[in-house]
Amino acid sequence: RERERERERERVAVTLPALSCVALCGGTHGNELSGIYLVQETLKNKRKGEAMEAVTVVTVISNPRAVQQRVRYTETDLNRCFTYAMLSAPVSERTPYEIIRSQELNSLLGPKGSGQAVDLICDLHNTTANMGLCLITYADSDWICLHICKHLQMATIPVRYIHYDIPLSEAFSLESVGKHGFAMEIGPQPHGVIRSNIFTAMQEAVHLMLDWVRLFNSGTQFDEGSVDVYTMVKNIDYPRDPYTHNITAAVHPELQDRDFCLLYPGDPIFLSFSGEILRYKGKEPLYPFFINECAYYEKGVALLLARKSKVKIPAIQCSRA
């Protein structure tokens, strides 16, 4: 019965409202340069009178203070400030800048969870990890996001879909404000550096995404199919000195840069500075990602681990208003 229902669902296209407003956000972290430059260039290139047919694109520099200083954040990580609790927290003189800013962004692009929120948020990020391009989102059955991911497979760079299984109220990042949203994460790139190949890849992916939105809004039906989804299971911290809390090992050379290569129990994960190998002690082979991301040292994360599953997506089509 379950299978019959699933087959029925796939045959008939799911109709969804048009995405009339898309927000393109850069500089949520002020030292992740591709998105900052892409937003600035998109703004420069918006010729007056040029109608982006069928979709309005809003460009936002999310954390202008951090961008100005070329730091990830000034007081607290902006991209952890979008839970319902933080968005509704009372503001005082002591409120960190980023919480004030997250509430501003929520007014501008949300309110989160309401009918006025923008249809799609694409939040642009870079990582020092060798992750190619990843769409990162909370929802595992958001057909819009999954279809966009399927469409992006034609990009030159490898494209993957990462899912964090967190309910919307606890979802802490910017893209959770939109009706649909994902972080578009591209690496490897050092923070504070802009690499031409990475910038071009992000530019290409954003164009493909906006092309898809235009096609969708114009009534194109997108066929059913399937997308590989990586669902985050857990994270592993660096081994640390019990007194100083300093890390005592680096990611092992055989794991470094091998994001999305299956990690088996017993595989080396760390090489201590004194030369010892530490191995993966989990019971289940899992897919590592965000391997050696610079910004995660202070969050106690050396790498994240995911389970991979094939998610079937139905045909979808825009419902005429």
Partner: protein
Amino acid sequence: MGLITLPVIRRMAVCGGTHGNELTGVYLVPELERQRREKGDTLWPVPVTTVLSNPRAVKECKRYVNKDLNRCFTSAILSSPVTDTTPYEVQRAQELNSMLGPKGTADATDIICDLHNTTANMGLTVISYSHTNWVIMHIYKYLQEKITKVPVRLILLNIPICDAYSLESVAKHGISLEVGPQPHGVVRADIFNVMKEGVNVVLDWIQHFNSGKVIEGAEVDVFMFEKSVDYPRDTETQNPLAVIHPQLQDQDFCLLQRGDPLFLTFSGETVGYDEEEPLHPFFINEAAYYEKGIAFHLARKKTLVIPNIQAKND
């Protein structure tokens, strides 16, 4: 080829965290200290002082707190009076000069090895001031012979010692070991191992030299710093208008000929190298140099002859 006799090496310092977010040195210094605790002072051919140069910057994982420490070692800054408004790094430079110097005197430590990382694809690059410092030239030659995992090169800065602004200029024979590419704030195991091997090779050389053997000279290729090139910038906002061209990115030490691509503007145009003389670019797309107005440096390659040397006890 003649023979030059030089004093035996008596003391060495290894410095990490001169830039607090260049993590290889930040972790190699405590690892050397751990080795010394475990194996005792006989581990190394000479006493080695290990120093975390900029502890406040290391704690915050930033390049510097007030001012780039590695620009504070000119004779002028080292002798400037300290007041309440003196930047932290200037005070720290003066402390380091007392500890490891004073610069230019007979009391200065013999060798400083200052550990750095770069986001540029520079393998292991030795940086120093003098092309007639035979100890340094021989250390470089030995590193080139012994290290095979990455290319090893030498950059010479044509600056007289009193104007030399970086930490290693405090020693009689000072070198920076620059290893990349590594993002700042990240420690990679492969880069750590290259640096660890580099420091061990330097110690190994000291042992050979101090044993009194004649160390044979040779011809070596070196890169003499010529000038810096900035990004094309908007004349009003000073914002960069272009990024390093994909054909130049990661090609440190290649030969740039007239017409070769340097930058790709955001509007898709290529800016080419328009100088007559072919030169070699390095520090291509170093994160810390954006604020210094440097996209890359250019160097002239030269072949130098280094003489045989021999240690003598004085």
